[in-house]
Symmetry: C2
Subunit: 264 residues, 2 copies
Amino acid sequence: MSGFGEATRAVRVGEGVYDVCLDDGYSIGGPLNGGYLMAVLLRAAVDDSPHEHPVSTSAQFLRTGRPGPARVRVEQVKTGKTTTISRASLVSDDGPLLETLVTTATLDPLAEPLYTSAPAHAMPPPEECLPLPEPRPESNMNLNGQMELLFDPPTVGWLNGAPTGRPESRAYFRLRHGQEPDPFVLALAVDALPPVVFSAGLRGWAPTVELTWHLRALPAPGWLTVLASGRMVGDGWFDEDAEVWDSAGRLVAQSRQLARVGRG
Amino acid sequence: MSGFGEATRAVRVGEGVYDVCLDDGYSIGGPLNGGYLMAVLLRAAVDDSPHEHPVSTSAQFLRTGRPGPARVRVEQVKTGKTTTISRASLVSDDGPLLETLVTTATLDPLAEPLYTSAPAHAMPPPEECLPLPEPRPESNMNLNGQMELLFDPPTVGWLNGAPTGRPESRAYFRLRHGQEPDPFVLALAVDALPPVVFSAGLRGWAPTVELTWHLRALPAPGWLTVLASGRMVGDGWFDEDAEVWDSAGRLVAQSRQLARVGRG
């Protein structure tokens, strides 16, 4: 099992109860990445379901997660031939971290879309894109070690004091260590980029309050393209919409989160 | 109390338990509109919260609702100075209809956005837009009697055998009987238009599986503008994204639903 597979492993220990171990490798200056927490929870929710794929996930983020043992509790609300709807929560010793509603279903890997729109934005080729600067070791940006991100240059202009003035973030994404994309990797990908508000000139911790994402197709191997943008920043809140395309040009995931504007 | 206020009334009968009466006026050929069901549930969730507004709602639709008595159960998962996160479910004699996660907070009616994008589409003026044809009385499209919708003409071309070929639906929206928009009306508005897939050439009942919507600002009186579109239709699923703008030009709501393609 790969690093990511191991780091998201959920061991069934009872009826709808799973032991997990939250991995320090997915932390960002202390707290764990929210997408990683979703991936862990979804491993349990899918295992508990008769269906194979986490088609829709709505997550409320209750508190920041820290590395260490935790537990996922899954309760099926309704199950049928096409879908199973479950409530799932991720709980650590600090209390509940994530409260979710998850719909599982089984997607057809060969399905061809009846209609698909173009990506929200054209990306330059990877060789014209930029990695983030190497973080200082003492900043404990461990998540950066797990993934490769290559950014559309204007969307990381904020690093050099030149934000675009719009909430946006666009990058090629892949996990290191040869882990190819799957639905659990997509849960990480939809929340892996710096908050879109950095590009609008804001800084600081931007905690997610709610994130809903939909798995639209099973991703092909290779780079993912993550296109994120926001529609409004105000009254302490912002939205962040991400669409994820795979290397075969398929829309594989859509997410939207509502988050708080950082104060830092 | 107005018709809509009365039809969404939730009476507290115990700790987090509310009696409601689902109103036949919001049915469409039998089943009740999903947005109406959310509005009823949110009346209870907001009443139960120390905060005033339903800022984020994620709803899983378990079965179709029918008119008659039902119950909302609200359980606070976490409450704090800024937000309260609750689980809320709407349950009828047939079983659970809606399972939701709701974040309540108190928005500032005077907040000015730091950033806001333009609407996704420019609408022609209302006088160039089209109402839906009067439904046949025996079709029991009762919902149509509650609201006025004026459509951007191409997006109702499917009525005359000329769909645009893209999943889209755009209309001005207001309730009849003088009810001005509020957050509960917005819950109805985000799910009030015909499914976007009609415009892509598909027909039939298109049941919502999951719908998440965010209240972004408190709406001004007058017409709302609802701009809905989808990114992909395939493998039996489609997404529908709606943004709602108020008469003052403010983005007041954003929603996305994942739904099943109808077979009819």
